[in-house]
């Protein structure tokens, strides 16, 4: 019934007269009435949903829960050690990586800052590298590349400084070599270029990495795939075959060979 219909109802008898002078309520509006039905339905649905989660055991007894995933477990274990004030930079690294893994980027950034003020990372530039990882996970690839560059510079300068200092410091530096984080930084750059679709730069970084570690089958495969992207199938085949020398049944390497139509 429309508003006009309602106002012009015939008043042929007493009842109709009473209706005409009655102050009509909002529920006489069919739209309001329909909306109120829907609202009531939603309230009922909401209440039934609450009962339903109880009946189906979604909530109820046993609300204690331990970690459900590896990332949660790592976060828990390393988080406990960090909370206990560990000075082990590897534990900090694992903690930050776990936070990045579960997508808690804000906490990861705070942990990087806390770590910087708690632990000495002058040799491996761990927290700068962690920042690069964080930026990469956030999809800020160019900033990640810049952070990885910064970490590489820090690592290089630290190493050179220790050599230049001579004595025990130089001896240890010579013995240990440059931090492994240097290679990690190269890979962060390579992956960032890959995710940006800048394949030539990615290949360049893979080349640098493989110069020091030519047996890294997974990196050979990554480079092979990058070579496919730039149309260099010969180089790709060479990389896949090199990878198969180290991992004979590597599914990724075989898939790469298949992709370029090369014999297995």
């Amino acid at each position: 019934m429309s508003e006009t219909d309602f106002a012009q109802e015939p008043q042929s008898d007493d009842l109709s007269s009473k209706r005409a002078v009655r102050r009509p309520g909002v529920f006489d509006d069919p739209v309001v009435r329909t909306m109120s039905y829907v609202a009531s339905g939603l309230v009922i649905l909401f209440l039934v949903a609450i009962v339903s989660v109880m009946i189906t055991g979604v909530v109820g007894a046993g609300n204690n829960r331990g970690p459900r995933t590896l990332a949660e477990k790592n976060l828990l274990v390393s988080g406990t050690e960090v909370a206990n004030g560990t000075a082990d930079v590897n534990v900090w690294n694992e903690y930050i990586s776990s936070l990045i893994g579960v997508g808690e980027y804000g906490r990861a950034r705070r942990a990087i800052e806390d770590g910087r003020s708690t632990v000495d990372d002058s040799i491996g530039a761990d927290f700068t590298l962690a920042e690069a990882r964080l930026l990469s996970a956030q999809g800020k690839y160019n900033e990640a590349i810049a952070a990885a560059d910064k970490a590489m510079t820090q690592i290089q300068e630290s190493y050179d400084g220790r050599i230049a200092a001579g004595g025990e410091s130089a001896r240890v530096a010579n013995l240990d070599g440059m931090s492994d984080n240097f290679g990690v930084a190269i890979l962060i750059k390579a992956y960032a270029y890959r995710d940006l679709g800048e394949w030539d730069q990615a290949i360049e970084q893979y080349d640098i990495y493989l110069k020091d570690d030519s047996t890294a089958a997974d990196i050979l495969i990554d480079r092979g795939n990058a070579h496919i992207k730039v149309g260099n199938e010969d180089a790709a085949e060479k990389d896949f075959r090199a990878a198969l020398k180290f991992i004979p049944n590597s599914a990724e390497a075989i898939a790469g060979l298949d992709a370029i139509g090369a014999k297995r």
Binding site: S17, V26, D29, L45, V53, N64, G101, A137
Partner: protein, 422 residues
């Protein structure tokens, strides 16, 4: 203009204003309710569904990972260590043993911790390893070093024990208990009285070397995983052997001869290749009746045909990520949820996984079963209510239309022609 007309105009204006206000208020209420429902849905998903584990796709070798259970809480001491066994109770809850807690640890199917049983104070559990759950919830636990199967109720009451030397695995059905041992296996009735004891330790066909897995089919047939002989065998309910197959190179091939360790190559079966097992341990039967075996050293679950023990498929990848294994030692199947619970020993966790083709019934039944294990199950009752409301609405609407039509037909002022036009 009459008085009535004035009243009509006032009413129209006032009503229109109230109606607009009412619409606004109700629109607001609707938005709030929608948001509330959205929030409830989000919380439900958060409660049941498991967060994404990694930005990178994990290679799982054909396994579908459902969830993992790492521990009872976030406390470090409450984490599982060297998971031994995981068995599903009739209500879908999961009982777990590990190498650290000397207890039967109880979780809901969603992985929430319910409690632990350590046995009565005067007769505590010593080091429970493999477990099996009866249809009434009674728990049978292997106490390897104690040489016994302990029986416990879910109230932590002792319900007896059977003295069996070096029990390594246990399975229970409605009328049988089967216990695997270092040297064979025993079929017992539910009182623990032996019906048949089979085997001695060795390599011959009727001998066994660590039966780390036994399973009982619905028809009573018994399947045995003879671990170090790397064999599977099947028996009828009376213990008569139906078949025996070698599934890979035996782990007990070496022998001391004249003071030297000599390895004898076994040549009676194909012992290499993708289908070869490295070390078969826990065994179970899935909804399709297939035999599923945990291959500890290959970090995989292998599937075999129950009629002749022929190899069907192998699933799994070694690794630490969720969905990968590092020395899985036992496996059980939950037919209601169509999933397997795997004790992933060196990853210190229980994993719940699915394998292709494991479900009983057709694909629709399987899909519904699987869906009901997730957050969707909380939507069942609201959905049914909604369905009911729609049906009622349709019925009422149809009845009203019919009534109106009848009234129109019986109305003397409207001719049949007019009715036809309407």
């Amino acid at each position: 203009m009459s008085d009535t007309a004035y009243v009509g105009a006032d009413v129209t204006t006032g009503r229109a204003v109230r109606s607009r206000r009412g619409r606004r208020i109700l629109a607001l209420v609707l938005v709030v309710l929608m948001l509330l429902l959205g929030l409830v849905t989000y919380l439900l998903f958060n409660l049941i569904s498991v967060p994404r584990t990694s930005n990178v796709a994990v290679e799982t070798g054909g396994i579908t990972w459902v969830r993992s259970i790492y521990g009872m809480s976030d406390a470090e001491d409450d984490q599982l260590a060297r998971a031994q066994s995981a068995a599903t109770a009739p209500d879908g809850s999961i009982w777990v043993t590990d190498g650290q807690h000397q207890a039967l640890i109880h979780f809901t199917a969603d992985g929430r911790y319910l409690g632990s049983l350590s046995g009565p104070d005067d007769l505590p559990l010593f080091s429970p390893s493999r477990i099996a759950i009866d249809t009434d919830g009674t728990i049978y636990a292997c106490e390897l070093t104690e040489g016994a199967i302990r029986v416990l109720t879910t109230n932590n009451e002792d319900a007896g024990s059977f003295g069996i030397p070096e029990p390594t695995s246990v399975a229970v059905s409605s009328d049988r208990i089967v216990v695997g041992t270092v040297a064979g296996f025993a079929i017992l009735d539910k009182e623990g009285t032996p019906i048949k004891v089979l085997g001695s330790r060795g390599k011959a066909d009727d001998q066994f070397d660590y039966v780390h897995g036994v399973a009982i089919a619905e028809n009573g047939n018994i399947f045995v995983s003879d671990s170090y002989n790397n064999r599977l065998s099947a028996y009828d309910p009376e213990g008569n052997r139906l078949w025996i197959v070698r599934t890979g190179k035996p782990a007990n091939g070496a022998e001391m001869t004249d003071g030297s360790l000599v390895t004898q190559d076994v040549t009676d079966a194909a012992l290499s290749g993708d289908d070869a097992m490295q070390l078969p341990l826990g065994i179970t039967l899935d909804g399709a009746g297939r035999i599923v075996v945990a291959d500890m050293f290959d970090c995989a679950l292998a599937v075999f045909d129950p009629t002749d023990g022929s190899f069907v498929a192998k699933y799994g990848e070694v690794g630490p990520d969720d969905g990968q294994f590092f020395y899985p030692v036992s496996v059980t199947y939950d037919s209601e949820r169509d999933w397997f619970t795997v004790a992933d020993s060196l990853n210190n966790r229980i994993q719940i996984v699915r394998l292709p083709g494991s479900s009983a019934g057709n694909g629709v039944v399987s899909a519904v079963r699987r869906a009901m294990t997730g957050p969707l199950r909380a939507c069942v009752y609201p959905f049914l209510l909604l369905l009911l409301a729609i049906i009622v609405w349709l019925v009422v609407r149809r009845a009203r239309k019919r009534r109106e039509l009848t009234e129109l037909k019986t109305s003397p002022q409207i001719s049949d022609t007019e009715l036809g036009e309407q």
